[in-house]
């Protein structure tokens, strides 16, 4: 049987766009599959180099000239405790709230946030995700200088 439909009618409709559309679609699909956009990740920055540990004293006192040390321990692999003077927290939100209060107290006492340095001192067995949680809590509390001390 002879097929007539495809060739029977010829229109003056400009150049044949089918190959162009084919190629363009292939390029589009390639770019969509091969491209990476880095949308699922971000970065917690630290601009303070690591320092030796051993900052002592009551860091909750208002007249602090020394860095505030947050001592992080891990009583079991899935938990951590953060101690900074009178502050004691076992999770990120509690630590954030306590650090916000501490920063506000210090600000009221005339200490600029830029002059306060938070020093995170984790124990050797503290997991990285807990260390990061403590750093995030300090950042959420709007501290600007956050560094790490050697493990205790």
């Amino acid at each position: 049987m002879k097929m007539k439909g495809a060739k029977a009618v010829h229109y003056e409709s400009g150049p044949n766009m089918t190959p162009l559309v084919d190629v363009v679609m292939v390029i589009l699909i390639f770019l969509m599959l091969a491209g990476s956009f880095g949308g699922a990740e971000h970065f917690l920055a630290s601009n303070v180099p690591m320092s030796k540990g051993g900052v002592g004293g009551d860091s909750s006192a208002v007249s602090i000239d020394e860095p505030i040390e947050i001592r992080v321990d891990s009583p079991s692999p899935d938990r951590f405790t953060a101690l900074a003077g009178r502050i004691s927290a076992k999770d990120g939100p509690t630590l954030t709230a306590a650090l916000v209060r501490l920063r506000e107290d210090l600000n009221r006492a005339g200490k600029k946030t830029a002059d306060i340095q938070i020093k995170i001192a984790p124990a050797r067995n503290v997991k990285v995700n807990h260390v990061v949680a403590v750093q995030e809590a300090a950042m959420l509390a709007k501290f600007e200088k956050i560094g790490f001390a050697k493990a205790h």
Binding site: V24, A34, G35, F43, A45, S46, N129, V132
Partner: protein, 181 residues
């Protein structure tokens, strides 16, 4: 001025002009936004911590990714890899950097000093030996790793006088904080 109309389809053929317009816009968008063939050396197998907070790094061309994972599950000895020039092959590829190589050198510190201070590994100098004050390090550390394994890497950053280093973290939303406490 005459009005422009979309050309009408002829004889049952669909008008592909709007399709091509849209597809071309999409192609230009993807070409501008997508990063193709740019390897940071980030190891996707490392399970990184998740945080709500985080920022973007603007100058990714001046960043070195350090992949840090423990040698074994509870080991305090890290394996550090980075996308650097391999001395053996001469190619830039993900290479292990030893904290203490057979000659007693700390390859992590030396690599960071190379990027920070140039060929002479020392402050000052010009040309190949000039300092790079804006050099940053991204640490892609396994979230289950102990701090004892991460500590030598942070010390290397401090020793190489790296002014800014960053933890690479996964984004979580406010509604579902994934940071395990």
């Amino acid at each position: 001025m005459g009005k422009h109309h979309i050309p009408e389809a002829h004889g049952g053929h669909p008008n592909v002009t709007p399709l091509i317009d849209v597809v071309m816009v999409l192609i230009v968008f993807f070409m501008l936004v997508a990063k193709i063939g740019v390897s940071t050396g980030a190891d996707p197998k490392i399970s990184i911590p998740a945080t709500i907070l985080g920022s973007e790094i603007r100058d990714m061309g001046n960043v070195l990714y350090l992949n840090v994972s423990p040698m074994t599950k509870d080991s305090d000895i890290p394996i550090v890899t980075a996308n650097v020039k391999n001395a053996a092959t001469g190619n830039t590829e993900v290479t292990e950097l030893k904290l203490q190589d057979p000659s007693g050198q700390n390859q992590v510190t030396n690599t960071l000093k190379f990027y920070r201070f140039g060929k002479d590994l020392k402050k000052g100098g010009t040309g190949d030996a000039s300092d790079n004050d804006n050099f940053q390090v991204v640490i892609r550390a396994d979230k289950e790793m102990r701090f004892a394994a991460l500590e030598p890497v942070l010390l290397s950053c401090a020793e190489a006088n790296v002014k800014a280093w960053n933890f690479n973290t996964a984004k979580v939303t406010e509604a579902a904080p994934a940071a395990e406490h």
